[in-house]
Amino acid sequence: MNGQVLVEVEGVSRFYGKTAAVADVSFLIRRGEVLGFLGPNGAGKTTTMQMLSGNLAPSRGRVSIAGCDLLENPTRAKRHIGYLPENPPLYRELTVDEFLDFCAALHGLSGKDRKAARERAKTRCGLTEVGRRLTGHLSKGYQQRTGLAQAIIHNPDVIILDEPTVGLDPIQMREIRSLIRELGREHAVILSTHILPEVRASCDRVQIINRGRLVLNESIQDLDRRMQSSVLAVTFRRPPAPEALAALPGVGAVTAEGETRFKLFHDPAADPTEALIKLATDKEWGIYEISPERQSLEALFVELTGQAGEA
């Protein structure tokens, strides 16, 4: 939790021909942090991940991993990286044990260390039962876990996961998410996903990328505050005049939604709920519904990526 900066991305761009898949992206990831990387399809998530993992060279900019420049000193920098790409890279003809041994050997582990690393990764990813099975014969969920085990086998500082929960059932998803949280305590984890609740469940910080540009980079707490409700929806059996509602302390504006339903926009600091309920019972308006409206992460996502207009 010492917050040491493990990934430093500075003004990174990547062009395919003339189109910029990623344009001028900069961010930091510290130890003990799980960063969620969101974006619509084709926004540049995978391209960014490939550049972080050294699979793709940025056209411009600088990436440094645990203090080593990924372009100038790729071999040193890559020792600190574990990467699970979109398609788990498995040699189908090897068993899980053989495959993980090979991955450990690629990272310079040998003998006892290799076996210990393999067993630890297997336990963490729930693979102890399938060690002797061929990776090609595993179900999608187990293949995904094997891919994850491969990414963490050498205990890297930086773990890059590209859509780690795709193809998993809800229980496996929960397991993987708690594993990600656990990994996030000692390492720096960056994960990309389409699944918005996943971000809330496992990340400390959220980045939204759209058309190659970062449009949001905030911690989950800040995001929660930003999305905090300042709208109340109320429904009455015998609705009063809107003016009577607007007179409540802290209420800014009132809009009618149909005959009996209203929306009250209020100052986030002054919640008028209690006063409203008291007034409604005193005046016998017959209040039967009152609920704070939350702005969802989804709505924010749609707003920031501007998908609503096109959808």
């Binding site: 062009f15 699979n55 793709l56 890559k78 090897l94 090979f102 990272h107």
Partner: protein, 250 residues
């Protein structure tokens, strides 16, 4: 690190039926060719003492057997090398190697060594045939060793061409066909050069076959050695360049 990759490569080869099939079929065909050379030798053997400086058992049986082996290698090399990078690219496993702390040169050399080990096993099995003649005859070991060295050098060059072709594509069959095309061209290029003066001689000099023949006659030709090493290094170098282009190129 290179050996880790080489070992995995060799292991995966022997986990597929392909390697075993090729070993079996090559043994069968070479056995047949070897026996027919022995037959010829037996039919001319009585007359040999009458000829001044006549070729011996090695020259009449071992050398032609190794000569035939070269043709088989031409056919096998594309098949054995086609998957080496192309299939990894197709199955997205190349990412694993790219993310690991190994350079592109190490990846190419590791894969190349894996393939080469297979060919060395294949050649060892072929050489057992002429060696079996020791049961009832004498062999010129210098000449035999020279021929085997030639075959190894030839295969080194073939495998390097195959590895490079495999880095170009994600379709193993395309890699096999292009490897075969290039190797065959290297094989027959001296036909074009025959009898066309200095230019023709230069073209003929590129032929892989022309450089192999001296080895079979027991001549250790350093220029031929250099030829094979240069071809090997050049194609492996191109392979490294190609893998690097995956990272940099558009």
């Amino acid at each position: 690190m290179m050996f880790v990759i080489a070992r995995r490569e060799l292991r995966s080869l022997f986990l597929s039926p392909l390697a075993w099939m090729i070993l079996a079929i090559v043994q069968l065909i070479m056995g047949f060719l070897f026996l027919s050379h022995v037959n010829i030798f037996l039919s001319v053997a009585p007359k040999l003492p009458l000829i001044h400086d006549a070729p011996g058992l090695t020259g009449l049986v071992a050398a032609p057997t190794l000569g035939n082996a070269a043709v088989l290698m031409l056919l096998i090399a594309p098949i054995m090398t086609m998957r080496v990078v192309a299939e990894e690219r197709r199955n997205h496993t190349l990412t694993l190697l790219y993310t690991a702390p190994v350079s592109r040169l190490t990846i190419v050399l590791g894969k190349y060594l894996g393939i080469l080990s297979f060919f060395l096993i294949l050649i060892a099995l072929i050489v057992l045939m002429p060696l079996s003649l020791l049961v009832g005859g004498h062999l010129d070991f210098g000449m035999l060793a020279c021929g085997v060295l030639g075959l190894i050098l030839l295969v080194m060059a073939f495998a390097a061409v195959g590895v490079f072709m495999s880095t170009l594509t994600s379709h193993p069959t395309l890699a096999a066909i292009s490897t075969f095309g290039v190797l065959f061209l290297f094989w027959i290029i001296d036909w074009a050069g025959r009898g066309h003066g200095a230019g023709g001689a230069a073209v003929a000099y590129l032929s892989a076959l022309n450089h192999y023949e001296p080895f079979l006659r027991g001549l250790f030709d350093t220029s031929a050695l250099a030829y094979y090493l240069i071809v090997t290094a050049a194609f492996l170098g191109l392979g490294v360049r190609r893998l690097d282009a995956d990272r940099v190129g558009a």
